[in-house]
Amino acid sequence: MALPEIQVEPPDVTTPVAVNGRWAGYWAILGARMKELWREPEVIFWVFVFPLLLAFGLGIAFRNKPADVTPIAVVSNSNAQAVIDLLQRSPGKNAIHADLLDEKTALDRFRLGQYSLVVTSDGNELLYRYDPARPESVLARSQVDDALQTAAGRTSAIKAETTQSSEPGARYIDFLIPGLLGMNLMNSGMWGIGFAVVDMRQRKLLKRFIASPMRRTDFLLALGSSRLVLMIIEVVLLLGFGVLAFHMKVEGSLLSILFVASLGAVSFGGVGLLTASRAQKIESVSGLINLVMMPMWIFSGVFFSYERFPQVIQPVIKALPLTALNDALRAIILQGASLSSQWIPLAVMAIWGGVSFLIALKWFRWS
C-alpha cells in the first residue's frame, strides 16, 4: 500500500499582512511629521505662541491712546499771564499744558525735549521758538498759534467740521496682524522645511529613506503638506486673536485668506527647500536661512509700510515674496479685496515657489 503523500510547506513566518497602496508612504511620512512636530515643545512655541505674544505686545504698545497733551513753556515776564489767560479761553486748552518759567530754564528744558515749544510775549508780538527737525515741535507751534489766535478773536474764513476716525480697520494693530501672519508663514516655512531637511540629512535619515523603496516625490509632498496643515492653524489662531483681543474686522472671506496663505506657505516651502538643498550641517543652513529672510523682515512691510523706502527700490521690494504675501493678505483681510484683484502678488509668490522648487529638485542632495 502506498503511503499517502505528505506535502510539507515551509511555515510562513513573515506573514505579509496588507498590500500597501500607492499613497501609503505619503500618508505615513505626513503622519510621522505631524507627530514629531507635535511632540516638539519648541515648535509649538515658535510657530503658535510666539506670534501671538508679538501681536499682543505690539498691539498694547501701539494701541490708540487719547491725543497727547502738548507741553510748552511760557517765558515769565509781565506779559506772560496774558498768554496763559488766552490759552485758558481757547477751545484747544485741554490739549496744551503750559508752564511759566524764566527764559534760561525754559530754553534748557526745551533743548532736553521736555517742552515742545517756548513762547515769549513782549506785549505786542508773540515769539515762538521751535525746532523744525522735531515733528512734535512743529505740531506744537501751529497748535499753540491756532489756539491763541482763535482765543484772541480770529475767525475761520471757511467753515470746517471735523469728526474723529479710529474705526477698526485703520489702526496700527489692523495693519500689524496681516504682516505678522505673513512673517510667521515665512518663518515657519523656511525653518519648517529648511531646518527639517538638513537635520534629516545630517542624521543620514534621508539616505536611509532613499535606501528603501520610498518615493522621493512623496517625501517632498508630505513635507509640503505638513506645512499646509500648520498654516491653517497659524491663520486661524492669529486672526482669531486679532478679532477677539483687538476687535479686528476681517473683511475678506476666510477661504480667500486661506488660499493666499497656502500659496505663501508653499512659496516659502520652496524657498526653504532650495536654501536647504545642499547644506550638510545645521549651522550652515541656519546662517543661510537668516540671510534669505533678513531683507524681507526689513523691506516687506511687516511692521511698517514699505512706502517709506525710496521710490527707486520699490519694484525690488514688490518682487519679494513676503511683500507680495503681505500685500495680498492686507488687501483681502482689511479691504475685502477679491482674489482676482490680487493676481500680481499671487503670481509673484507662485513664481518664487515654483522656480525655487524646480532648482531645489535639481540640486537636492539626499546624502
Binding site: 506573514t15 498590500v19 501609503a24 511620512i29 507627530k35 535619515l205 535606501a211 528603501s212 523603496p213
Partner: protein
C-alpha cells in the same frame, strides 16, 4: 545556480584622486551570510554602498538578484533590506511608529508586530526612539530593514560600539533571517564576528580583496595554523632566529613581550621550545597554544593588525 550579488572589477575614485575601491570581484550565493572584513578605511562601506545602489561606481558592474541598478531600481529596493552605518532615526517617534513608517514604503511589508517580536522590541514598542539603549537602537535599525520582507539584508558594521550581549543578540537575528533562506551581506572589523557569523568572507585592504573563502579555509590556508604564544623571564637576550629555527615554526612575531610562533604541529615544536628555553638559562613565564584566527590571517597577509586602536 543563481547568484544573489555579483560585482565585477568594481572601482570607485573620489574627486578623481582617492581610490577607495580598486577593482573588486565578489559573488554571493543565495542563503549565504557573506562578510567583508577589513580595517577602517579599507573601502568596506564604499563597496557595500555601491552594491546597495546608494553610490555610483566609477567603473565596474553590479548585479543584484540578476538585475542592475540602472534598469530595476524600484524592484531592487523592494527586495533589499538596508541598515546603514550611524543612521539616527527620529527620536520623537516611538519604536512601533518608526517600524510602521518604514513598512509603509514597501508594497508587501511584513507585519510590524512580528518584526518587533523577532527583534525583542515588543516591550519597547511604545517607547520613544530617543530613550533606547545603543543595542536597542541598532536592533530597531535592523527592524526597519527587515520590515520590508527583504530577500537580501545589507548590514554595515552592525555591531560596532555594542556591548557583548547586544552583539550576540544581533548575530542571532542574522541567523534567524538566514534560516528563512535570506541572504546577508555585512561589513565588520571584528574578526570574531566574521568567524562566527559568516559562511564566507572576503578580507579587504586598501580597496582590494586580499583573501576570500570560508573562515576555516582562510585559516587553514595559513601555513602554520596553530599559534604557540609564550613569554620568558631571565637568561641571556635571545636572538629571534633561535625561535624560527625550532622544528615546524613557520613564522615568528614579537608583540607586547610575547612571542607568537605560527606552527603546523605544536606537539613537535613545544618540546623543542622547552629545551631551548632551558638551555638559555631562562624560565618560561607563560605558554599557550591556540588555533590561528582570522586576525592571524590578516596580520600574515598585511603585516598589520586588523584594529589599530
Amino acid at each position: 545556480m543563481e547568484v544573489a550579488i555579483r560585482c565585477h572589477d568594481l572601482k570607485k575614485t573620489y574627486d578623481g584622486k582617492v581610490e577607495a575601491v580598486r577593482g573588486l570581484d565578489l559573488e554571493i550565493l543565495p542563503g549565504e551570510c557573506f562578510g567583508l572584513l577589513g580595517p577602517n578605511g579599507a573601502g568596506k562601506t564604499t563597496t557595500i554602498e555601491i552594491l546597495e545602489g546608494l553610490l555610483a561606481p566609477t567603473s565596474g558592474e553590479v548585479e543584484i538578484l540578476g538585475m542592475t541598478w540602472q534598469g530595476h531600481e524600484r524592484e531592487l529596493r523592494e527586495s533589499l533590506g538596508i541598515s546603514l552605518q550611524e543612521t539616527r532615526l527620529s527620536e520623537k517617534l516611538t519604536v512601533r511608529e518608526t517600524v510602521e513608517l518604514f513598512a509603509s514604503f514597501y508594497r508587501h511589508p511584513a507585519s510590524s508586530a512580528f518584526v518587533l517580536e523577532e527583534l525583542s522590541l515588543t516591550e519597547k514598542a511604545d517607547a520613544m526612539v530617543g530613550k533606547l539603549s545603543g543595542g536597542q537602537k541598532q536592533r530597531l535599525a535592523v527592524a526597519t530593514a527587515l520590515v520590508g520582507n527583504p530577500k537580501i539584508l545589507f548590514l554595515d558594521e552592525p555591531t560596532t560600539g555594542l556591548d557583548p550581549q547586544s552583539r550576540r543578540q544581533l548575530w542571532e537575528i542574522v541567523r534567524q533571517f538566514q534560516q528563512r533562506s535570506g541572504t546577508v551581506m555585512l561589513t565588520t572589523h571584528y574578526m570574531d564576528e566574521a568567524e562566527r557569523l559568516c559562511d564566507r568572507l572576503a578580507i579587504i585592504d586598501h580597496g582590494k580583496v586580499i583573501a576570500a573563502g570560508t573562515p576555516a579555509e582562510l585559516i587553514s590556508g595559513l601555513s602554520g595554523h596553530h599559534v604557540v604564544e609564550f613569554a620568558i623571564n631571565g637568561g641571556q637576550p635571545v636572538d629571534e632566529g633561535l625561535w624560527s629555527s625550532l622544528p615546524g615554526v613557520q613564522r615568528v612575531r614579537h608583540e607586547d613581550g610575547f612571542f607568537c610562533l605560527q606552527v603546523d604541529e605544536p606537539h613537535h615544536t613545544i618540546p623543542a621550545l622547552l629545551l631551548a628555553v632551558q638551555q638559555q638559562g631562562a624560565q618560561l613565564a607563560h605558554l599557550t597554544t591556540r588555533q590561528a584566527s582570522l586576525e592571524d590571517v590578516f596580520v600574515h597577509l598585511t603585516g598589520r593588525r586588523l584594529r589599530e586602536d
